[in-house]
């Protein structure tokens, strides 16, 4: 019996799908799993896990939070970058923030659970916190001294033009002090929860302020990574943490700095990627060389 051609074609398609599923979906990956059992590759194929004191404490490729149970930084350890994967460095919920470059206005709702910080405020708040922890200047351009985005909603008489009628510092609520007292002669108000000043017609105006062009807190300390699991920090971020870690461990800062250098990897072949410090490896080495009591 000859099948109609449309049917025989679909049967051929089904058989092809099944054949390729076995070959490419089982044989190929499982053969590579088997190769991954070979000595030398096995550690990496299993996730580059590391042990300390006989227990597995992490993977050198996966970052982790060096914080206490309340989420506060443990000062004797070098700190990782901010992470938005789950509650931070959760490999079962990897994520980036996906917040855009002009995300500068916080949502200040009457219900604090519905409030949402803009990317700018997140950056400013992180910069201020790192500055305080490591004893460096936490100021940044477009940030208020109290660590939120320095952004005004400027209302004009005729929408986009005309005299200024009202100015609101949109990311600051009571009891804060407006980061500028007045804007072009008009006194600056604090934001009231529950208002959307952009929808109400305010022109969003970020204010640069007088913070230095090159802030003391490095960029990677105030931005969330793409993977949410970034195992590295920049050498600059490691450098500002040296003094604190040395103090906490009663060690010579020069010795700590040397350890950081030993755990800094340069560019691959001299031109790929950027120099980076693996935070977990560095902290493990710290515990081995400069144990705390």
């Amino acid at each position: 019996m000859r099948l109609p051609s449309w049917l025989s074609q679909h049967l051929a398609a089904l058989r092809a799908v099944l054949v390729f599923t076995v070959l490419l979906g089982l044989v190929y990956p499982l053969a590579l799993v088997a190769v991954g059992r070979l000595p030398g590759l096995a550690g990496r194929a299993d996730g580059s896990l590391v042990e300390a004191g006989g227990k597995t404490v992490g993977s050198v490729l996966i970052g982790q939070s060096f914080t206490d149970a309340d989420g506060n930084p443990v000062p004797r350890y070098f700190q990782s970058r901010p992470s938005v994967a789950g509650d931070g460095y959760d490999p079962t919920a990897t994520a980036a923030s996906n917040l855009g470059p002009e995300g500068v206005v916080d949502t200040v709702a009457a219900d604090p659970d519905e409030s949402r910080q803009s990317l700018l405020t997140l950056v400013c708040a992180r910069s201020r916190a790192v500055g305080e922890l490591d004893g460096v200047d936490g100021r940044r351009p477009y940030c208020t001294p109290d660590g939120v985005g320095a952004v005004l909603a400027v209302f004009r008489a005729d929408g986009l033009t005309g005299r200024i009628t009202r100015v609101v510092s949109v990311n600051q609520v009571a009891p804060a002090t407006p980061f500028v007292g007045s804007w072009q002669g008009v006194p600056v108000e604090l934001a009231q929860p529950g208002h959307d000043y952009v929808a109400e017609g305010g022109i969003v105006t970020p204010v640069r302020g007088d913070a230095p062009d090159k802030p003391a807190v490095p960029a990677d300390a105030v931005t969330a990574s793409g993977s949410g699991l970034d195992p590295h920090i920049s050498p600059a971020y490691a450098e500002i943490q040296v003094a604190r870690v040395a103090r906490e461990r009663g060690a010579d800062p020069a010795a700590i700095r040397k350890l950081v250098e030993e755990h800094t990897t340069g560019r691959a072949l001299g031109f790929m990627g950027e120099p980076a410090v693996n935070v977990l490896e560095l902290n493990l080495a710290l515990d081995a060389r400069f144990p705390t009591r």
Partner: protein, 551 residues
Amino acid sequence: MSMATAGAVFALSLVAALVAGYRPFGDYLFRVVSGTRQSRVERGIYRLVGVNPAAEQTWGVYARSVLAFSAVSILFLYAFQRLQNHLWLSLGFDPVVPHGAWNTAVSFVTNTNWQWYSGESTMGHLVQMAGLAVQNFVSAAVGIAVAVALIRGFARSRTDELGNFWVDLTRITLRVLLPVAVLGALALMIGGAVQNLSGGTDLTTLTGHAQTVTGGPVASQEAIKELGTNGGGFYNTNSAHPFENPTAWTNWIEIFLILLIPFSLPRVFGRMVGQNRQGYAIAAVMAILALASVTLTNVFELSGHGTVPQAVGVALEGKDVRFDVSNSATFAAATTLTSTGAVNSFHDSFTALGGMMTLGNMMLGEVAPGGVGSGLYGMLILAVITVFVAGLMVGRTPEYVGKKIASREIKFASLYFLITPALVLAGTAVAFATGNNSTALNAGPHALSEVLYAFTSASHNNGSAFAGITVNTPWWNTALGLCMLLGRFLPIIFVLALAGSLARQQPAPASEGTLPTHRPLFVGMVVGVTVILVALTFLPALALGPLAEGL
């Protein structure tokens, strides 16, 4: 060395590697698709599938074979996801919801690999490796096969025969994709990509937090994900995840794998039509557009324009330290210039103009160099349109590599070109008209960019995202699934119809009136036509999104 200098060397080293690979790898591809000696494994596969490898197909039969294979693949993948809780290695995950399973099935079969889900919390290992990764291979092979059928249309005369889809599919998969994927996977494993069947390792971190280090057959999937310009990540954060892309040098390898086949296919074109210089001309068009795009993306990202990048100092949000800004920008350009859509950094947090480049790359039609196969056939369509436009302007006979471009050919080419803009712009408009744009995370022009990006990515079968937008709703999954399906198979049907029409023609001998199509003049004209067509189509939409935000 500054980051900009190192980044430039990084990009130039990729260019050098691709130039070095063009002839040997292109010649190898040529031998694979034009050879007639079948290996024992291949003969076994033809027997199991029940096809005669010596029988050639007309364009209609070839197209119906592509569609039958893809339809069965979609149903198979849908059932696989819906039943995953009953299968081995499901990691305890529930069946995938129906609208999500539809979207993902279409997504992987169309070489899009748009992902509404997080791999680590939705898909078991078996679905990933025996469902999704299989389509990474065969959807790529389908694209190359269709491109080869179009080339046969140019190369052959007075025939209805365009080759045999099942033979092309099998030979491309076994002789090109599988061996290179094995090499790529081994390199990634050496770099640290995981390859196991573990459900995860629970551990306690140095400061006492619980952490689950995930496992999975990642390296094998990662290699073909890049090589086949697929892009669907094993994990949610895709090639930013250290288990998918552990080091700066694996990042180089991944970009190389993305670009290897698309940039080598013009060589196959040149060899098959018997004029290598025609291949060089097409490769030159691709290279000019790609270099311009990679350069601009790097410039925009490194300049760090915008309020938040200026507050930070550099545009580092959504980027990992080991890649930093420049290598992230180069990856972003490569992934959107092709139909890959894998990301090693998050385009949503790019500077407004850097983000616009990723959108613009896709809107270019993914022809520079484009997806595996789809890039070449897209570029050949543009060459056909250019020949026609040039013919109108200077009174030359519209001919391309010995074939007349008459009304039938130009109709297929125009229909091909019109499909994706129609899907993108209509889809975006419908999303706003029905209020489904409200799932965008950001506000203002950036929200339009997020919606526009989603439809552009789906319709062009890219799969990358301005990932802030929530698309796991029945409306979004259905709408984007339709865009992926129509954006893939309608163009394929028109390409094959064009191939059939070209193959039937007599060869037109070159005359005084023939426009040479291998000279710099023609290369420049194809570049011009490509950019102008895209600009005319998409500029209004771009002006309301990224341009409004960035200027």
